[in-house]
Each structure stands twice: as structure tokens, then as C-alpha cells.
Amino acid sequence: MLLQIKIFNMKQKIINILQEIRPEFDFAQDINFIEEGMLDSFDIISLVTTLDENFSISIDGMDILPENFATIESIKNLLIKNGVKQ
């Protein structure tokens, strides 16, 4: 139960951050943010900077690829890979 809450919190935190960067889009939808044009490369830079600050990590530069920011799931996996505990 506790694990589920943490995962939910991480998901919600990611959505909140995305909404702040591009308030005109609904990031709770299950769609590909890159293909739908909801995030461009400069949004990804803003997103990485905000994720680094909020989760106290430094996302590896090699991981800053569009596919890692295409969905909430892929962003979550990226955070876990870069040291955020589930």
C-alpha cells in the first residue's frame, strides 16, 4: 500500500511539473508527449532542470533523449534509473 502511494506521488509530482512547464496541455492523458508536440527540446531542458531540483538528482546527460520524456511512465523509469527510490 505504502509503495503504491509513493508511486502515485511520484506520478502526480511529474504531472504537476509538466503542467507547470506547458500549462496549455493535459499531461494526465495516456499519450506520447513528444509525438503530440507537447514537449520540445527546450521544454525537456526545463523539465530536466526541474526534475533534478525536485528529486535531488542529476539526470545523466546521456539519458536526455526525447524518448525518455515521452510518457509519465518513461519519465518515472528515468527517475528511478537516476537514483530516485520507488
Binding site: S41, F42, P66
Partner: protein, 354 residues
């Protein structure tokens, strides 16, 4: 490719920056993006202000101004200059070399070598390599390396990818034979298959400038530029840097038998704060050892960015102190190169305004 040089040293560095300063906020409305989005980008990338030349100013103006300053202050004598290496992507003419133009303007002796090298982001390293090699000649004792670029003239003011970060400037670095024996470790790699990652597509012999090449076209991200303008594949360049630079630095230090903690400063090319901080994190180098404050204060003037980082961040400390410094340049070409050397006890290490 690994390189090793012996018994060479830098004895002075001067950076010449245009006095004209343009603030990011003043240009923001030229970009096809919301103000809020541009301000977020400003924070992440470190865009704040940049120095650009006034119309009509060329690189020889900056270089002659800098060299005359050294002559007037008796920090350099004309007769001691055995070679003048100019690294630039902003030549005054296709022919002759701009280094010859500078030689003529300054009235330098004929018994010397002048040469232009077309390089950019790694232009400081490549210029130093050439200086070190020339100094192996018996009759060459002092090489003046000049890096200079005014690429603001080739960037579209409506291109948010490039315009906020581009700066103009020149630097003069004096390179001599070292009285104390030393070994300088270096390496360099190139990948010409990605030649168009950073390019000015028109204006050369392949695609001469015409009214058609000057037509402004909107790209997928909403930037406007023409074929006469500089274009950068930002994502590709970022990924190239993150992939290639960390192993290059690890290899350099390993070959020199030096651990990262023993290096006092990592003076890298200055594309933007975000990229440099990511490199520092990947290499596990404290951010204070890798300054990333040149774009935000002056803009990125290509091969001038490293000498600017050294003069701005270390200034007079390098007159009295000596530091082990790792230099790294990466970008146009693609080219990536690094050098590990002791720098200190300089005759001068300062910035002047043109």
C-alpha cells in the same frame, strides 16, 4: 589521437570583448515563443546578456586592438613575434588569410609565419597544438595565438536556438618554450560525417549567397533563419558532447597519471550552463572547478570561450599562482579535444573592452 608536447608554456592571456552588451530580455520579443517560456529557458541555459560587435567591426579590429594594448604596455614586443596563428570562422576575406591582414596592419616583421586555421569550439586547443609544434623549430621562440570570432553577424536574431548564446570576441595567448622541463598531455578526435551539426550553409563556393539563400524560413520549433545564417542541431550536439567528452577527459587524465582531484580547474568550452553542469556531474567534478559563467556574462564566442573563462575566473591569480588546468573544446566539425597543462606565473591574464 593522443598527443604529447614537451617544454612549452603559456606566458600570457588577453581577452578582448566588444563593449556593446545586449540583454536577453531586450531580444526576447524577437523569438516566436511566449515570454514565460523564454524566461524558463533563460534560467536553465544561463542566458542573460552577451557582447556583440557594432556594425562594421571585424576580427582584425579586435585583434589589432588587443595586440596594440600589449605593445603599449610593454607586455609583448613586435620583434619577438615569430608566428601569428589566427583561429577563426569569421575571416575578413576568402583570400588572403586574415592573419596576414593583421600582420600588415600592425607592421610586424616579414621574418615570421602567419597562418589562419578554420576551427571553432575546439579552436583554442587546435591553436595551442599548432603553437606547440611550431615551437619545436630552432628559430621560433614565441608564438602568438589569436582566437577571434564575430559570429553574431551570422546568427538570425529570430533564432532562439543560437542568438541568445552567441557572443563576439578575441583572445591573444602567448606561447613560448618553457625554461622548466614539462610534459603536456593532449588528445583530439574528429567526426566529419556530422559536419552539418553546426554549419552556415550558404556563402561559400558550394552555395554562394543569393537573394534566395537570404530568405527567412521557419523551422519546426518556430525559429526563423536563412541559409546564410548559422544553424545548430542542438539536440545532436548536446548528445555528442555528453557521449564523447567524459571518456575523452577520463582517457587524458589516465594517460597523464593524474586523478581528477589533483586538477585545479576544468576550463571547458562554454556552450551553455546546462550542458556544462551535466558534464561536471557526469565527471563527478565540483561545479566550482568547472566555471560555466561565460555564456551568461558575455556569450559564447567559439574558440575565445576558454581563454575568456580563464581570464574572467582566474584573472590576477594566474600572475602569482600556478594551477593544473584541464582544457576541453567540443563542437563544430565535429571536433573534440582536451589538454592537461600547468598554467601560471603569467605576465598578464586580463580582459579589456574594445
Amino acid at each position: 589521437m593522443n598527443l604529447t608536447f614537451h617544454n612549452k608554456t603559456i606566458t600570457g592571456i588577453l581577452t578582448v570583448l566588444p563593449s556593446k552588451e545586449v540583454k536577453f530580455e531586450d531580444e526576447m520579443e524577437s523569438y516566436n515563443f511566449s515570454v514565460a517560456k523564454s524566461l524558463k529557458l533563460k534560467m536553465a541555459m544561463g542566458y542573460s546578456k552577451h557582447r556583440i560587435v557594432e556594425d562594421g567591426v571585424t576580427i582584425s579590429d579586435l585583434c589589432v586592438f588587443g595586440l596594440n594594448n600589449l605593445f603599449e604596455n610593454e607586455l609583448l614586443r613586435k620583434e619577438d613575434m615569430d608566428a601569428l596563428i589566427l583561429v577563426t570562422q569569421s575571416p575578413e576575406y576568402f583570400m588572403p588569410p586574415t592573419s596576414n591582414v593583421i600582420q600588415g596592419k600592425l607592421g610586424l616583421k616579414q621574418d615570421m609565419i602567419c597562418m589562419d586555421i578554420n576551427q571553432g569550439c575546439a579552436g583554442y586547443e587546435i591553436g595551442l597544438f599548432q603553437a606547440f609544434m611550431l615551437l619545436d623549430q630552432d628559430e621560433i621562440n614565441k608564438v602568438v595565438l589569436v582566437n577571434a570570432d564575430i559570429l553574431s553577424k551570422k546568427v538570425s536574431k529570430r533564432d532562439r536556438n543560437s542568438n541568445p548564446l552567441i557572443g563576439d570576441g578575441a583572445s591573444v595567448t602567448i606561447v613560448e618554450k618553457s625554461k622548466k622541463p614539462n610534459t603536456i598531455f593532449a588528445n583530439i578526435k574528429m567526426d566529419g560525417t556530422a559536419f552539418d551539426a553546426l554549419i552556415i550553409p550558404a556563402g561559400g563556393f558550394k552555395t554562394p549567397s543569393t537573394p534566395e539563400t537570404a530568405a527567412m524560413i521557419e523551422d519546426a520549433a518556430g525559429n526563423f533563419r536563412s541559409l546564410d545564417n548559422l544553424v545548430m542541431k542542438g539536440d545532436d550536439v548536446f548528445n555528442f558532447v555528453q557521449r564523447e567528452v567524459p571518456p575523452m577527459i577520463e582517457d587524458l587524465l589516465s594517460r597523464a597519471g593524474i586523478n581528477k582531484q589533483s586538477v585545479d580547474y576544468f576550463m571547458f568550452h562554454q556552450p551553455n550552463k546546462f550542458m556544462l553542469n551535466k558534464l561536471a556531474d557526469k565527471l563527478e567534478i565540483p561545479h566550482e572547478k568547472m566555471p560555466s559563467n561565460i555564456v551568461e556574462n558575455f556569450g559564447n564566442a567559439s574558440g575565445v570561450s576558454i581563454p575568456t573563462a580563464i581570464t574572467y575566473n582566474l584573472g590576477e591569480r594566474l600572475i602569482s599562482e600556478s594551477y593544473l588546468i584541464c582544457l576541453a573544446g567540443f563542437g563544430v566539425g565535429l571536433t573534440w579535444a582536451s589538454i592537461l597543462l600547468e598554467v601560471g606565473q603569467l605576465k598578464f591574464n586580463t580582459i579589456i573592452n574594445y
